[in-house]
């Protein structure tokens, strides 16, 4: 499947956030935690991955 509604620059943007300092690391950690949480509870998925 070719994902149509994705942002190919998302990785680059997040990488810059990550390299930007402690606050940026916290953002990425939070995003990963959010993913783990939604994977475990099954909630939030439709909101996060709309349109795929």
């Amino acid at each position: 499947m070719i994902p149509l509604y994705v942002d190919p620059t998302a990785g680059g943007m997040l990488l810059q956030v990550l390299l930007g300092g402690v606050a940026g690391i916290a953002v990425v950690v939070r995003l990963f935690w959010y993913r783990i949480k939604t994977a475990l509870t099954g909630r939030g998925r439709s909101g996060d991955r709309e349109d795929r």
């Binding site: 509604y5 998302a10 997040l14 990488l15 810059q16 990550l18 995003l31």
Partner: protein, 469 residues
């Protein structure tokens, strides 16, 4: 005389400004509300410095009275600037490794300078760079915009795809990058490159950060609305952007091509030319060029560039085409290393049997070689036997094409008994019986009038020719 301005088909993506050519001049028309910001920058000392240093193409703001009528008729031209014309437009898939590196360094140096003056590059693509001779120059003044602290740098992902990743590919995969950029105008996706890179490269800081980490984050969050909102809510300090650009600058600068040396790299020292023949050939070529004083010369199959350098002394501008990226790289490096050397020679990678096609939207965004104008003079030295024997192109087709390239030129015929031609004929299924000195001379007469003719001591024949109209 005024003609209707022609919109450059490669400049439509940016809605804020477009490039037009009229009366053989290049204009950039800004129609956006913040044209004032661009005008302030162009009129600043900082910009003047960038032009003076050769980083940015010479640009002047036109007063309303100086704007050609054909341009003022465009809808809402808020600001019109005129650019110095680049003699020959080339694309990154026609550059050698060191050329792409120099274009990368220029782009990042410019980004840093702009940040010092509260501006930023809104993109980072090699298509914004052209070569004037062997010197890279930034042409897209429309990419400059006022900097506001907060968002990540928009140019980062593009820089990786179009500059850094092709360089890393050539360094770690050991293959030439040109075919990747020719087939994908968006460059090489980090995920795509990651799959090709050897494991050992992935532990280097450059690859780990810009390829592995970027790709991992991309895979996980490219479709995540939450990630987008987190990014847009986050402030990245100017210092962090500056640091990242500095990191990219040094990452690009330290890459070295790891493509195996080609057999052509040694050609000049290894070919079958005896000194007497070589001297005679040089003398012949130089005397024709001296007499003709052409504007633009295309050296077709330029090899190490020896004859391009001769042409440069008598011509306005020389474009040196060779199909071997390593050979082009060596010639480019030699030109760059010589500060007193010619500034009017542009070496390019081009397989003349399969030249660059028209590409992108409408086949016109990136022009084919044929659509980029012609020359006033061509050099086709030790080229025919490659095109006929290895390329399997009929002699007549080659001559017809040469006649379309320029009205005059010099052609070298390499007889089939020549050791280099024999090497090509070896193991060919076709005998190429039609490839003979007599057959060639006869075909030549169908397309050209022969001026001077010289048979070299090694049996090769040089013709100076003028095309029949």
């Amino acid at each position: 005389m005024t003609e209707r301005p022609t919109a450059d088909p490669g400049s439509f993506r940016d809605p804020d400004n477009r490039v037009f050519t009229a009366d053989r001049q290049v204009f950039r028309v800004f129609n956006r509300r913040d044209a004032a910001d661009i005008e302030r920058l162009i009129r600043s000392e900082a910009f003047e410095d960038m032009v003076e240093l050769g980083m940015v193409v010479s640009t002047e703001v036109l007063e309303p009275a100086d704007i050609p009528g054909s341009i003022t008729s465009l809808p809402d031209p808020a600001l019109v600037v005129r650019h110095e014309r680049i003699p020959f437009i080339s694309y990154p898939y026609e550059w050698s490794f060191e050329m792409l590196k120099d274009a990368a360094a220029l782009t990042l140096d410019l980004a840093t300078r702009l940040l010092d003056h509260d501006y930023i590059l809104k993109d980072a693509t090699p298509y914004n760079v052209q070569f004037a001779g062997a010197r890279p120059v930034f042409i897209d003044v429309g990419s400059f915009e006022p900097y506001e602290e907060g968002p990540p740098w928009d140019g980062y992902n593009q820089f990786c795809r179009l500059f850094l990743n092709p360089l890393l590919y050539e360094r770690y995969v050991g293959q030439n990058f040109q075919h990747l950029l020719r087939s994908s105008l968006d460059g090489v996706d980090p995920g795509e490159l990651r799959a090709m890179l050897p494991l050992r490269s992935k532990w280097t800081k450059t690859v780990f950060t810009n390829v592995v980490l970027q790709d991992s984050l991309s895979r996980r969050f490219e479709a995540s609305a939450k990630a987008s909102s987190e990014v847009s809510g986050h402030v990245i300090k100017r210092g962090a952007i500056r640091r990242m650009i500095r990191g990219l600058r040094s990452s690009a600068a330290k890459q070295r091509s790891q493509v195996r040396r080609s057999s052509w790299s040694d050609y000049e020292s290894d070919n079958t030319y005896d000194q007497r023949s070589e001297d005679a050939k040089r003398e012949f070529v130089e005397s024709v060029l001296k007499r003709t004083q052409p504007g633009v010369v295309w050296d077709l199959g330029s090899n190490t560039g020896a004859y391009s350098l001769i042409a440069a002394r008598h011509a306005g501008y020389v474009v040196a085409f060779d199909r071997d990226p390593q050979v082009v790289d060596a010639f480019y490096t030699r030109l760059r290393a010589d500060p007193g050397g010619p500034t009017n020679v542009l070496p390019l990678v081009m397989d003349l049997v399969n030249p660059s096609p028209g590409q992108g939207w409408g086949h016109t965004e990136r022009k084919s070689l044929a659509d980029r104008g012609n020359a006033d003079f061509f050099l086709a030295l030790a080229l025919m036997h490659h095109m006929v024997i290895a390329g399997e192109v009929p002699i007549d087709s080659i001559l017809e094409w040469l006649a379309s390239v320029a009205p005059e030129g010099v052609i070298e015929f390499v007889p089939r008994e020549d050791p280099m031609a024999r090497r090509l004929l070896l193991r060919r299924s076709r005998s190429h019986g039609e490839y003979s000195a007599d057959g060639f001379a006869e075909a030549l007469g169908r397309y050209f009038t022969v001026g001077d003719r010289a048979e070299l001591p090694n049996g090769r024949i040089l013709y100076s020719v003028v095309r029949k109209v």
